[in-house]
Each structure stands twice: as structure tokens, then as C-alpha cells.
């Protein structure tokens, strides 16, 4: 299967303009399309390691980013997004086409595959066990994820933990890691070799850019990992990094509350999430700088005492 970067720029442009570029993202196949020439280089850069999935008989969703029509195109210079051929979302400044493409692919990934339990959490893996980092926007989750990935952890996702019902593992969906404002500089300082796409200023999240997912994470996109830790990060400038154990019931409810479809799945969602939480040690982590936060999480991997106790699933007597 060819990878995107193995195609010439004109060949990628032809696909994006025409039938679309079908990508194997792991649990989903997405087809991307656009006639905007400014998206060609970012797509090549950020998705270069992904295999082209032209042979896949089933495409889960198609996202196209196109110029607006008439006044939107020539006066307002706006773009529009289409999902599966239908206009989706409000028009946006054309200069924000790349974040809009990423946002639209995220939206499809979070709302379409309801055959899985979808938790709002970053997921990274080391030595076969994965760490879930649930967090609200602004918690520092993506910055931490980027730092971990640049420190040797495998990226499963920076936004969503995909769990098949009844399974004891998380499926990878390794996509570009979204960074914003000061996080972009923080990651550049952390690793001068980090491959980061173009900056887009003025979005509703501020200036945004995307870290390219490592080729190894992309290559292992069909390799699930068993969860071992759930850590709720919270960045506070100047704070001393500290991990505080929290109970599994507390972690369960916090994760369920932030899930994309826990309530949709009913008892299947409850049992599936319980199996995940059952296997994890759970913490809240406050951190003030990336290096000490990564060090604290690396220490979890080597601490055998963090293995979870067995929990009960029967009604109390």
C-alpha cells in the first residue's frame, strides 16, 4: 500500500481535486478532498506517513474543503466544508482551511463510529501498556501528548480513546496532534526536530498548528494496546508537578461525563468503561512544565506498585 509521501505533489493534487485521497486512519477510513491549492503541502506534510486506502471497499466518511461560491469566494474569501457531500458547519475564513479540515475530520471521528465507546482522551503507549489522558480543552492534554510522543511514547490519539464494546484494549487512531498558542512554542523548545505544520492565527482557539504523527505510530495504527493508567492532567504555570491518586469510581464518572457516546451505548458503555477503569491506576496530575510531567509519567511505567487491584462487578451483599 503506497504512502501519501510516495506520491508526487501533482498526483496528490489530482486526487484531492478529483475523487479524493482515501486514508487508512486505523479504525476508520477517511477520504479527503479539496480544490484549494494551499492545502496540498500541509496534507503532504501531516499525512505523509499514512497509507492510501484506495482499495478499501468501505469509506467511513468523506470531508471536502472548498472555496465558497460567489460573494463568499471573491469578496469574503470564505471556505466551506462538506461531509459526505453535504454542506456542514458555518463558512470560515479561507485562511483557516487547514484547521477546518482537521476539525471536520475530528468531528466525523468523534460522532460516526458509534459501534465503539468513544472517550474524550489522549492515548499514548509504552512497553505495551497505554496511558489515557482525559482532559477538557485548556488542560494541557495535547501539549503533554506531543511531549510524550516526542519522548518515545507511541501515539494512539490526541483526542479520542476508541474502545470496542467488551474489549480490554484501545484502538489507535493516530492523527496530527493539535497545538495552540504557547503550546506551539513549548513543543518547538522541547524538541527542535519536531515536525509541525503551518501556523494558522486568528481561529476561535487562537493560533493553531499540528504536530505530524510519528511514522512508527502510523505504521502501528492497527495494533491496539491495553490500558494501565488514567491520568487527568491540568497545566498550571509555575506549578510543581504532582500526581495524586484518585479512586476508580471518580475516574469512571469523570471519563464518562466527557465521553462522546457513553450515554448512547447504555449498559454496553457502562460495562466497557468499567473494564477499562478496572485495569487502570487513576491519578490527577498538576504540572507546570513539560519535562517534569513526562518524567513523572515515565516513572509510572516502571512502578510495579501501580498495577490495579481486582474489582468486583456483583451487587453488594
Amino acid at each position: 500500500m503506497s504512502r501519501v509521501r510516495e506520491l508526487t505533489a501533482p498526483a496528490i493534487a489530482d486526487r484531492l481535486r478529483g475523487p479524493g485521497l482515501a486514508l487508512d486512519l486505523g479504525p476508520v477510513v477517511a477520504r479527503l478532498g479539496t480544490t484549494l491549492p494551499e492545502l496540498l503541502d500541509p496534507v503532504r506534510l501531516l499525512y505523509g506517513g499514512f497509507p492510501i486506502a484506495d482499495h478499501e471497499p468501505l469509506v467511513d466518511f468523506e470531508v471536502r474543503i472548498e472555496p465558497g461560491r460567489m460573494l463568499r469566494r471573491w469578496i469574503a474569501r470564505q471556505g466551506v466544508a462538506f461531509v459526505d457531500g453535504q454542506r456542514a458547519f458555518a463558512p470560515f475564513p479561507r485562511a483557516q482551511a487547514l484547521p477546518m479540515l482537521e476539525w471536520a475530520v475530528n468531528w466525523c471521528t468523534f460522532t460516526r463510529p458509534n459501534q465503539y465507546l468513544l472517550l474524550h482522551s489522549a492515548v499514548v503507549e509504552r512497553h505495551g501498556r497505554c496511558l489515557l489522558l482525559p482532559g477538557k480543552p485548556g488542560s494541557g492534554k495535547s501539549t503533554l501528548t506531543a511531549g510524550l510522543v516526542l519522548s518515545g511514547w507511541r501515539l494512539l490519539s490526541d483526542e479520542v480513546a476508541v474502545v470496542p464494546p467488551g474489549a480490554h484494549h484501545v484502538l489507535p487512531v493516530p492523527r496530527p496532534v493539535g497545538l495552540k498558542d504557547a503550546s506551539i512554542q513549548a513543543i518547538e523548545r522541547f524538541d527542535a526536530g519536531a515536525v509541525i505544520g503551518p501556523r494558522t492565527p486568528g481561529t476561535r482557539k487562537g493560533t493553531v498548528a499540528h504536530l505530524r504523527p510519528p511514522d512508527d505510530s502510523v505504521a502501528r495504527r492497527h495494533e491496539p494496546a491495553g490500558p494501565a493508567w488514567i491520568v487527568f492532567p491540568r497545566f498550571e504555570a509555575g506549578a510543581v508537578t504532582a500526581l495524586r491518586p484518585i479512586s476508580r469510581p471518580e475516574a469512571f464518572l469523570r471519563v464518562a461525563h466527557e465521553s462522546f457516546n457513553y450515554s448512547v451505548l447504555g449498559d454496553v458503555g457502562f460495562e466497557t468503561l468499567a473494564e477499562i477503569v478496572d485495569r487502570c491506576s487513576c491519578y490527577a496530575m498538576r504540572y507546570g512544565d513539560l519535562a517534569t510531567a513526562i518524567e513523572a509519567l515515565d516513572d509510572l511505567v516502571t512502578d510495579r506498585s501501580s498495577r490495579p487491584a481486582i474489582a468486583g462487578s456483583e451487587a453488594p451483599r
Binding site: 479512586s247 474489582a311 456483583e314
Partner: protein, 104 residues
Amino acid sequence: MGTAWRLPDGQELRWRSWDGEYLLYHANSGDTHRLNAVGAAVLSGIAAGSVETAELVERIARELQLETNAIHEAIVDLLARFEDLGLVEPVDEPGPRADSARDR
């Protein structure tokens, strides 16, 4: 004679317990509740078969080694909350809901 309690027909409850706490999934409402040992004992006591408030209080006091007087009020309040949540219902009062102080 005090109020007797039971689970409504077709009630489906799923449990998990960790670290002395309980999570309860109430399939009929889709809600997930976090309970301590007393809350779990109240609900599981009723799930085992309809039971009067006084007997339930005595049973839980024995089971958790607590004073009956110390937990009676809390359990009466808890039963009212469980009734509001649709988790339990009184056996003998089909009419308008009696006030939560009926067993005080």
C-alpha cells in the same frame, strides 16, 4: 406499619465496586450513580425482596456495624431520593406520593 419498598417491575441494575465505593448503572434511566456502602446496602437490600424501612435500617445497622439511631434518618432520606430517581417504589402506596417523612 411502616412503608415497604421494592424495585419497580423491569428494573435493571448493574454494579461495579472499587475501593469501598459502588457505581450503579440504572438501565431504565440511563443514569450512572456513585454510592457509598450504606447507599449500596439500601438498594441491594431492596433488590433482594420487598422490605419495610425499619427492618431495612436494622439489617444495614447489623451488616455495617452501625447504630440504628445514627442511620435511620439518613436511610429515610436516601429512600426518598431513590424513589425520586425511579430506583425504588413503595409497595403499599399506589396513590399520590407520600411525603418523605412517612417513616420518621
